[in-house]
């Protein structure tokens, strides 16, 4: 099993969700986060007082999938979340040791 963690532009969330649904992924966790990579922040000015805002709002999507689906999922994520501009975000992939469904103690891939 793999955990896929994608940090994307907030306005891309709906598109990404739709694309994942279309390939049959229907479980995910979404968090509103703030951060920045190589993308610079922006400047805000209030009555002449300047503020650099370098932590920008992003959305983090976490999903756990069976190993064979990895490439398909990553490809779906990149194509749905991409604008081609700096700030599009990143995807991290982790190995997952186990999964448990709380409702009935299902283990491993059958818990996904």
């Amino acid at each position: 099993m793999k955990k896929v963690e994608a940090i994307i532009q907030p306005f891309k969330l709906e598109e990404v969700k739709e694309a994942l649904k279309n390939i049959g992924i229907d479980g995910m966790t979404v968090t509103e986060v703030r951060g920045h990579g190589r993308q610079k922040g922006h400047k805000e000015i209030y009555r002449g007082q300047e503020y650099m805002v370098d932590l920008l709002p992003k959305v983090k999507i976490e999903l756990v999938i069976a190993d064979p689906r990895l490439n398909e999922v990553v490809h779906t994520l990149t194509s749905a979340a991409r604008t081609g501009k700096i700030g599009d975000g990143k995807i991290f992939v982790y190995d997952v040791a186990d999964a448990v469904r709380i409702r009935n103690d299902d283990r491993g891939e059958s818990a996904l």
Binding site: E44, I45, Y46, R47, G48, Q49, Y51
Partner: protein, 458 residues
Amino acid sequence: MFRTRSVLVYLAATAAALAQAPPDKIAALEAAVQSAQTSGDNAWMLTSSALVLLMTGPGLALFYSGLVRRKNVLGTMMQSFILMALVSVLWALFGYSLAFGEGSPFIGDLRYLMLGGVEGAPMPDYAATIPHQTFMLFQLMFAIITPGLICGAYAERMKFSAMVLFSALWLILVYCPMAHMVWGKGGMFNAFLGGSIPAFDFAGGTVVHITSGVSALVCALVMGKRKGYGSEPMKPHSMVLSFIGACLLWVGWFGFNAGSALGSGSLATSAFAATHFGAAAATLGWVLMEWMRNGKPSVLGGISGAVAGLVAITPASGFVKPMPALIIGFTAGVVCYLMCSVIKSKFGYDDSLDAFGVHGAGGTLGAILTGVFATNAINSALKGSDGKPLPLGLVDGNGGQVINQVMASAMAWGLALVGTFIILKIVDAVVGLRVTNEQEYEGLDISMHGEEGYNFEA
């Protein structure tokens, strides 16, 4: 602060035409005409009084509380709201009398203590066609918002107890004397009721905006900066609240200025027009400056400009035509922008919400420009011994008026500087001015009031 009496002239003509009618019938007609005018004027004046209260709550409360950080939103709202209660009680007990009782050129006497004698009958020297009580209420709303404006300077760091004590003392020692000097019978700057240095202040350029704005500067200097000022971000937490507040201020200001005609005649309309055009031009002035210097026209710039224009047109509103109103407004937009964004950072004082930059600077500018643009084509109440209207400002050929305006402004500056400094020292000795560092970090909402403005998890 008076009205023309064209209706009375009309009444005299009607009386002459009816000379052959029985005298009791004429008297009944006279009474009916007077009562009709009182009804019309009183309706507008009660409406205006309510509009001016609307400027403090929620207008000013929203405008200011949107500009502070989230942890101080309620503390800032409470500062405006408690003044609606505190000043009202003090005004009823003795404040009105100190401001509007006849007395010395500097302060009123105690003839209206506990509102004695302030009832349904008009006080002809102030407003001949409305109940004296209406005049008292209208003036009360001014007394409420004036100390409220100072909150912008000490925002986010003053103890609530200190703020209450400061405001009470300030009302007595700064506001009431200044109101008396400019508007009270026998006051030294009262152009219409025997002042020795006649100055024009239609709705409070000196009395409201210079006193509060300059006192704000003193507060900012004496209290010192907020912790982390200049190093931590102190962005406005909700431009949306500030936007709504500023729009309410613009609307309420029609009561403030057009209401200062103390009647519902053409002078009220003229003041309404000047007020509106002043605000509009100032908005454009501030936004243009910002657009040129920063590359973006901001919402905060737009609403700040509107308020600056409303401030500057206040003393002039019942004396100037629409075109000078545009000039006064636009100038105020540019000057106040420079005060808030260039001058303030140059000197480094923390006038947190720019009470001095907008009200002190805009009020002074407006008071002086009133001496330039005041004209008897708009306001003919000041008459010479031959019964003809006297020239008012520089445009009427009375250049000396500008000097009088400067003197009245200087008095407001001096009184605010000295009075506020002394009051702050007294309050500091009695209860202490500032919250502790921990309380400031926690925010006024929790540390002073035990509440939070936004309970997202509730």
